[in-house]
Symmetry: none
Subunit: 203 residues, 4 copies
């Protein structure tokens, strides 16, 4: 099935190119021509793979969300203890290298802006920030609950702690994006993990 492979590969190529240009310029400053150029193809070709600029943006955002989700889930699944799970999850969440975000992190606020605005406009959207956050909170919440059940953690509210784990991670992203030179994302996350685990630890 040579065609199939080619098509998927090309679509992916365009997606990646779009991701980069979107990140650098913002969605509205990005012209289809730029994406084409970045992908090394002609403008018209993009439309063989994506219906419109808007769909392309959605696909890009969706791709990122799925990547991050998979990454976090996998790393948490592998970890053994509840504390390890939390640690692995948070580190995976901010693992820009593994997520391929190191060069395109600026895209996140656009994703957020887009996702938040979708609520108000169209209903048939492929991604829903509401659901995304629910899921992350659930993911961390279950690890927390497990830790509580096992007596590793204090008897705290998993809902609120997980919300704040996710919040901290997002917030670190924001500070890092604003000042990549001086803000060390990984260190911030590790520091946070240590402190948090100490805070919720049962001893």
């Amino acid at each position: 099935m040579p065609k199939k492979v080619d098509k998927e590969a090309k679509k992916d190529k365009i997606l990646k190119a779009a991701m980069k240009v979107f990140a650098k310029k913002g969605i509205f400053e990005t012209k289809m021509e730029m994406v084409a150029q970045k992908a090394g193809i002609a403008k018209g070709t993009i439309y063989e793979y994506f219906k419109s600029k808007d769909e392309l943006a959605q696909m890009v955002f969706n791709y990122l969300l799925v990547q991050m989700n998979m990454h976090v889930k996998q790393d948490m699944a592998i970890a053994s203890s509840p504390a390890e799970k939390l640690k692995a999850g948070i580190l995976a969440y901010v693992d820009v290298e593994a997520l391929g975000l190191s060069d395109i992190s600026e895209i996140l606020p656009d994703l957020w802006a887009y996702g938040i605005r979708l609520r108000n406009s169209r209903a048939d959207v492929p991604f829903d920030l509401r659901w995304i956050y629910l899921q992350y909170r659930d993911l961390f919440g279950r690890a927390l609950q497990e830790g509580i059940d096992k007596g590793h953690f204090k008897n705290l509210d998993p809902k609120s702690v997980s919300a704040f784990i996710v919040a901290a991670a997002d917030g670190f992203y924001l500070q890092w994006m604003s000042d990549r030179k001086n803000f060390n994302l990984k260190n911030a996350a590790e520091d946070f993990i240590d402190k948090m685990l100490a805070g919720i630890g049962n001893n």
Copy 2:
């Protein structure tokens, strides 16, 4: 100087109108005509007060940043103990009502996107997210240091804790914007404050 006042009032009116429309539609989906309509004036009049759409956006973002900054600073200044300062600061940071953000919170990701991108493009910008975050970290950091010095808090690194206080606050904003119905911003912040103060408290 009645003229001056009138001019300022009108400029403010346009700014507020732009803020609302920007928040609802996003900057690029906002047309100057919409802003004019919202402000109850003619399209051309906006240009008597703002050089361009871009300047208008900058003024809007700057206004918000200044508001938030003032609010946080004031509330922290009034508070007496270090713990009270932290609490007051965080609550002020997320006080959407007082900040007038309750109806226009969706503007924040646009502000972030804009601010982060400014780095790459133009140098002569009126606001700088890097500096904004430095300042907030410094603000909370000084309260933390004071608490440490007074023996109220454990001997922790004010830099990293303040970074994560700001991060959590931003992150809560994000979750709240994504799901205003089900995520209680104020509760999340208060929960967080309690836990954090317990965690860093010296006893």
Copy 3:
């Protein structure tokens, strides 16, 4: 009401310009830029007066249809005898000079093509060839009936005769458009009128 007049005048100017270019090039070969140029305005200005190229075309067609209709009706109304009415109506129908069609006659097949196709597509159309023809047949039919009633004409079927009067007139247009140099529209119409009146005359 200076504005109102200006606006209407300008709209009319654009309409007339579009009519000419449409006639010369055909609707699809006509670019909005050409219309603007012909009207002596900028491309964008057209859109202040017409929503789209399609609407512009519809307005042009409608204008022509209304003009022709008015012209025929008026000339028939003035005429006294039934025979005069028929004659006046037919001559008015093909009076390219009075209708302003002398330089833009080629637009008629486009009008027909457009009108016929409208049936298949959109329902909310401002003109309906079906109705147009019904009306013309009715107009000539009533003159015929009057002639029959008065004993001027033989006892023939007004429906079928009126249909064929209109048919002949349209057909003459077609031959004239195809060969303006050698086909004399007015002569053809007059010849036809004489013969027909002789044919249906009662003596």
Copy 4:
């Protein structure tokens, strides 16, 4: 020569497919892809048989013109008396079934528009409406002349009568296309023939 036949058959298939789509959508709304689909082939294949969309359109129009011409000529040739010749010719002219026009009549105004415009643009065109009409007028004119010579018809001008026979036939087409449900093309033609023959008959 089996290959030749195959080629011709395929070319014809494409031509017929194009005819249908052109009729339904109009030439400019017809995309080459649609024609290919209708013909059950790939888009690129059309270009193996026709140089361009424009040529395809010309071939379609030419085909129709030739068909109609042959049909009319043949039916007139068979008829014996001048009156029969006229009758046969007119009926053949509007015999949509035999001409294969019943489903694609809407194509006629496009043909007219195209033909009329050719005059203004390119000189090397395969068909010329001017010539087409000359021929039809000649065809009917000769039958009329024969009738006059034989004393069957009054001494009228064959030129003008033939012009008006053709005109009526075209005009009937137009009314029929505009309202196929309520306008009976054949009946209109027959009615017309009867009346005309009565009018020009010598008795």
